[in-house]
């Protein structure tokens, strides 16, 4: 994509791209990876702790506890989003806070808050999936493909 675009450019533009690239401060990739590793891990530890509380202290069966844990993490993320903390965490932690389920909840909650001024129907309802929508669409498509492959290549299933 980038190369294709570059080919369309005039020599002056190409020369400028090189000059501009030189002045572009690089993203601190290694530091970002380390931060993402620890923040992402920490979020998972919190999730695990909540699940342990549900199974051990409240004696909820493991399947139900997993669902309850996800719901709790989503709730925590929405609260942190609405009090303006999650975006700051995102700037610092990068993928660490974007990848877990809390990041998904943040993308929906932030869009809902953002478009509240346009009303509940067209604003909150219509715009809530602005960022999350593509995750759901392509997640579903990927799931169908994986399920189809599973059906084709799993002898236990295809054999009946």
């Amino acid at each position: 994509m980038a190369n294709k675009q570059l080919k369309k450019m005039t020599p002056v533009q190409q020369e400028y791209q090189a000059l501009a690239k030189k002045h572009e401060p690089p993203r601190p990739l290694l530091l970002n990876c380390i931060k993402a590793f620890f923040v992402g891990g920490l979020i998972c530890i919190v999730g695990q702790a909540i699940q342990d509380i549900y199974t051990k202290s409240l004696k909820i069966p493991i399947n139900n506890a997993a669902t309850a844990t996800v719901a709790t993490m989503i709730l925590l993320s929405v609260i942190l989003t609405s009090i303006g903390i999650y975006d700051k965490l995102g700037q610092w932690a990068g993928a660490g806070s974007a990848v877990p389920v809390t990041g998904f909840a943040n993308s929906m909650a932030s869009a809902a808050i953002e478009h509240r001024s346009e009303g509940f129907v067209l604003g909150v309802g219509g715009q809530m999936f602005k960022l999350a929508g593509s995750v759901i669409v392509f997640g579903t498509v990927a799931a169908i493909i994986v399920a189809a492959l599973h059906l084709l290549f799993n002898p236990n299933l295809s054999g009946g």
Binding site: Q5, M9, V12, Q13, Q14, Y16, Q17, L19, A20, H23, E24, P25, P26, R27, N32, T81, S82, G84, Y86, D87, K88, L89, G90, Q91, A93, G94, A95, S97, A98, G103, N106, S107, A109, S110, A111, I113, E114, H115, S117, K130, L131
Partner: protein, 338 residues
């Protein structure tokens, strides 16, 4: 009067009679806080949406500038302005409140100097006696329109810029004293193929350089004619590039003070603004607040303000277009009535 290819020389010396700046709380915590007329405690400015807050700030700045110049609204012949919102609603809705005959312009973040140049031309040619020019931007409304929801936890790269929340206005007339607008250079649209909306500085730098060179060529001046040449919102990354480009084109920019408004408005150590400030209000509040105050105090005698604008829309970059940019320059001189 046309001078050279794309510049106007103002013989009647239209004057900046009064200016007004209104900013949000984040700008109020920056190093230029003392230069702003009004600092709001909350970025919503008692309104229920950011768009309304942005408009409200422009209305306030408009009222304040007119009041400081000692006029009433009906004495102002025209209001010229623009902003970043779709269909420039902030400015046109503010014009509805102000009730002054209105010319809406769009030059993205170059709107400040574009409106000042047109206002000066109207006054210079006698098409108007008193003109109000102004522009506004709001960090959250710009993020919402151009990028992601404000509370969305995405990581911004170090080249990203922070849109200034604020509004800056100016009343131009033929007053006896005050900083005079002596010339203006209207820029061409330059596109050097940058397509990353998180790297506006790099996209806009060539436009700034093109307009600066055109200004010197048209008016047959060199950089040392000015005490200060200031760009609008190139920020750290774009400013470095502009410096290198000017040196490459043999413009002796080092013979004058060369600065950038986007690098002056925030405190890099304490405020998380990545490359620096941007937005229509960036060059407007820094020039109309800070720089003109310094000029009135005698620090600068002649300055050239080169406001830069990135003319993209959220749609254009999603369709893979590169970012066309523009810059307009206005020279302001203090002093001996000649």
């Amino acid at each position: 009067m046309l001078k050279g290819h794309q510049s106007w020389l103002f013989n009647q010396k239209p004057t900046i009679h009064a200016t007004a700046t209104v900013v949000g709380p984040f700008e109020g915590r920056g190093p230029l806080a003392n230069d702003f007329d009004r600092i709001h405690d909350h970025s919503m400015v008692d309104k229920d949406s950011w768009e309304k807050a942005e408009r409200k700030m422009l209305e306030e700045a408009g009222d304040l500038a007119i009041q400081k110049a000692g006029y009433s609204k009906d004495q102002i012949h025209f209001f010229i302005g623009g902003d970043l919102m779709n269909q420039i609603t902030s400015t046109s809705f503010a014009a509805r409140t102000l009730g002054i005959p209105f010319l809406g312009i769009f030059g993205a973040c170059s709107s400040s100097m574009e409106s000042l140049a047109i206002a000066s031309l109207l006054v210079d040619t006698g098409a108007a006696d008193q003109v109000l020019a102004g522009t506004c931007s709001h960090n959250s409304s710009a993020e919402k329109q151009f990028r992601y929801p404000t509370e969305y936890g995405s990581q911004k790269p170090p080249t990203a810029q922070y849109t200034v929340t604020g509004a800056g206005t100016v009343v131009v007339d033929r007053a006896k004293d005050g900083p005079r607008i002596t010339s203006a250079t209207i820029g061409r649209v330059i596109d050097m193929g940058i397509s990353d909306p998180f790297n506006m500085g790099a996209a806009m730098a060539p436009a700034a350089v093109d307009t600066i060179q055109a200004h010197f060529r048209d008016l047959q001046r060199a950089p040392d004619y000015y005490d200060l040449i200031v760009t609008g919102d190139l920020a750290k990354v774009g400013f470095e590039i502009a410096n290198e480009l000017l040196q490459k084109h043999n413009v002796p920019i080092d013979r004058t003070q060369f600065k950038d408004c986007g690098m002056m408005i925030y405190n890099y150590e304490e405020q998380m603004v990545q490359s620096g400030g941007s937005g229509c209000a960036c060059s407007a509040v820094v020039t109309y607040g800070h720089l003109l105050n310094q000029m009135r105090e005698g620090k600068w005698k002649r300055m050239l303000v080169v406001a830069t604008g990135a003319l993209l829309s959220p749609l254009s970059y999603q369709q893979g277009e590169t970012i066309p940019c523009i810059a307009h320059a206005v020279s302001i001189e203090m002093g001996e009535s000649s």
